[in-house]
């Protein structure tokens, strides 16, 4: 009998997020080890975006749960809808991206169903009928292979930016799933959402990141990175030293006590490469480091290391990149 796999979708700016397509693509790949029936769930206050993009990535069916109260994230209401659907549909696996939404929601849902979830998976493979996840622990110093051993639906959360998006064309059929939220009055609600002014992707999902360290010397000097970052549509990250010195808000910190990132391209400007910073970015595909100290530890992992003054090199670099992309 085919295993049922449900992928939880996420929408941003009225389009399914890339991280959702990554999870769908990985689910399609898992069809080679076991026969799978792949479906998705959309939750929201309004109708979903065009489902054809889900079909393009191998999803044959999407449950659609629409209710005015599902506009802002609410753990209690979302848990009710999700557990109702899971109790009826009874999938073997639930897959979702380990982003702010499902990182928060899925452990609650799994607990209510007496099951468990694996966080932050960077690989998923079959071992017979068991799905085994690989996940970094101790900030990537160790890789752990782990599986959900609870009975019933098993939950796995995939790290964003790890699984490549691939096409597996099919047609995605909508299936209405009417939420039953009567009588629920959550004690915690989102009263207001303050959208970030920045249009760039979040650190954890960005394909390109431009980061600065303590060598930037001030919050104002980060502007030297912002020009380049804007040209590349990249967020500006920072080391712990830079954040602790107040040069940049903590939400932009990369490292063991900040965000763990996994971009295609990571530029480290004036970052020496403390173990705690390296732990958060060393899985980047390409790393370019600029530092005045030729002995800086960052050079031990950089694909391209440039010994020099960032205050002189970055303006040149920005000018040259602008000439190409601007």
């Amino acid at each position: 009998m085919a295993k049922k796999v449900l992928v939880l979708t996420e929408v941003k700016n009225n389009a399914f997020k890339k991280s959702t397509l990554e999870v769908l693509s990985k689910a399609c790949e898992l069809r080679s080890g076991n026969e799978l029936e792949l479906s998705a769930l959309y939750l929201g206050a309004t109708n979903p975006p065009d489902l054809s993009v889900l079909g393009k990535h191998g999803c044959g069916k999407c449950f659609i749960a629409v209710d005015p109260s599902l506009g802002n994230y609410n753990p209690e209401l979302y848990t009710k809808v999700l557990t109702d659907l899971l109790s009826t549909y009874q999938p073997d696996l639930v897959l979702a991206s380990f982003g702010a939404l499902y990182k928060d929601l899925v452990p609650k849902v799994a607990t209510r169903l007496h099951s468990g979830a694996v966080s932050d998976c960077v690989d998923l493979q079959w071992d017979g009928a068991d799905l085994i996840a690989t996940r970094p622990i101790y900030a990537g110093k160790i890789l752990q292979r782990v599986k959900v051993t609870a009975n019933g639906t098993k939950f796995y959360l995939a790290r964003p930016n790890v699984f490549p998006v691939a096409e597996h064309a099919t047609t995605c059929e909508p299936v209405t799933f009417a939420p039953n939220l009567q009588g629920l009055e959550p004690k915690a609600i989102v009263a207001e959402v303050r959208r970030g002014t920045s249009q760039v992707p979040d650190l954890t999902e960005a394909p390109i990141i431009v980061s600065g360290g303590r060598a930037l010397k001030s919050a104002e000097n980060f502007s030297i990175l912002e020009g380049l970052a804007a040209l590349l549509n990249a967020p500006v990250g920072a080391s712990r030293a830079a954040c602790d010195a107040g040069y940049r808000e903590h939400i932009w910190q990369v490292g063991q006590t900040g965000k763990v990132v996994n971009p295609v391209f990571y530029l480290a400007a004036g970052i020496s490469g403390a173990i705690q910073h390296l732990a958060g970015m060393k899985t980047s595909k390409y790393i370019v480091a600029i530092n005045t100290d030729p002995e800086a530890p960052i050079f031990k992992i950089a694909s391209l290391g440039v010994v020099g003054d960032l205050f002189k090199i970055l303006p040149e670099l920005t000018k040259k990149v602008r000439a190409i992309v601007g």
Binding site: S119, I137, V193, Q256, I275, Y286
Partner: protein, 262 residues
């Protein structure tokens, strides 16, 4: 207000982590152990809330005998008393089991607020808060970077993604996972450290909470299979002594030909 803080003792973030020869476990012997950095923010927020509203602060952990050091650190910062659920093999428990132990103990007292750190820097699971809240039938808010506690209602800011923030209103007791940026944790003073030695510690065995002898396997939801060390990353090309324009040219060339991002 009665405030609890859940903490975890973890290896220092600078520590080198080694595997046992059979690759089935991690060797923690001899490592410097610290209070999980995110839990320091939780302890600080509990202290500030008490300073504003009055009441009592209690720190709780599930951990081996040596985890008492982390509890004493929290008490040296100012927490009033501690609960130590002693489990020598705590490292082998999954998050659902640790949360079940803590929930059983916390349910025995009424807390108005329960703080946690947003995640522990050892296993990076980031699920304890949500599981604990669900088991206690309380709401939770994670990634909290600011909060204001009013009369029966709290206003809480949650960092979402890319600079977006949600402002939550929470009625009644809840579990709150704080992140860096919410406060600047205080250092333990010398008198604080001396006082902490005399503060009460309630030492509890899992059996005293009604957990059967085989609870480590029966409560478990997630099981590790094996461990590995990731491949070492090798250094690539290094350029030294180039003038800024040449250095920039090299980077541009790398971005175009290797990384192919422009």
């Amino acid at each position: 207000m009665k405030i609890a803080v859940c903490i975890k003792q973890v290896p220092d973030t600078e520590a080198v982590i080694k595997l046992a020869p059979d690759q089935k476990s991690i060797v923690l012997d001899g490592l410097k152990l610290i209070l999980n950095p995110y839990d320091e923010f939780a302890v600080e927020q509990a202290l500030r809330t008490k300073e504003a509203k009055g009441g009592e602060t209690v720190v709780i952990t599930v951990g081996p005998t040596k985890a008492i050091d982390a509890l004493r650190t929290a008490m040296a910062m100012g927490i009033d008393r501690a609960i130590h659920i002693v489990e020598e093999a705590a490292q082998e428990l999954d998050v659902a089991t640790s949360a079940a132990l803590a929930a059983k103990k916390l349910a025995g007292e009424h807390f108005d607020l329960i703080f946690t750190g947003v995640r522990a820097v050892d296993d990076d699971v980031a699920q304890f808060t949500q599981i604990l809240a669900e088991l206690l039938a309380l709401p939770h808010v994670t990634q909290v970077s600011a909060m204001e506690v009013g009369e029966g209602v709290a206003t809480v800011t949650r960092d979402v993604e890319g600079g977006t923030k949600e402002v939550w209103k929470v009625n009644g007791p809840f579990v709150c996972a704080v992140t860096k940026g919410i406060n600047e944790p205080r250092y333990a003073s010398l008198p604080g450290i001396m006082k902490a030695k005399k503060k009460p510690v309630d030492t509890v065995a899992p059996s005293a909470l009604g957990f059967a002898a085989d609870y480590r396997s029966t409560e478990r939801r997630v099981s590790p299979c094996s461990y590995a060390t990731p491949p070492e990353r090798k250094a690539g090309t290094k350029i030294d002594g180039a003038d800024p324009s040449t250095a920039a040219d090299k980077i541009v060339e790398f971005m175009q030909r290797e990384a192919r991002i422009i």
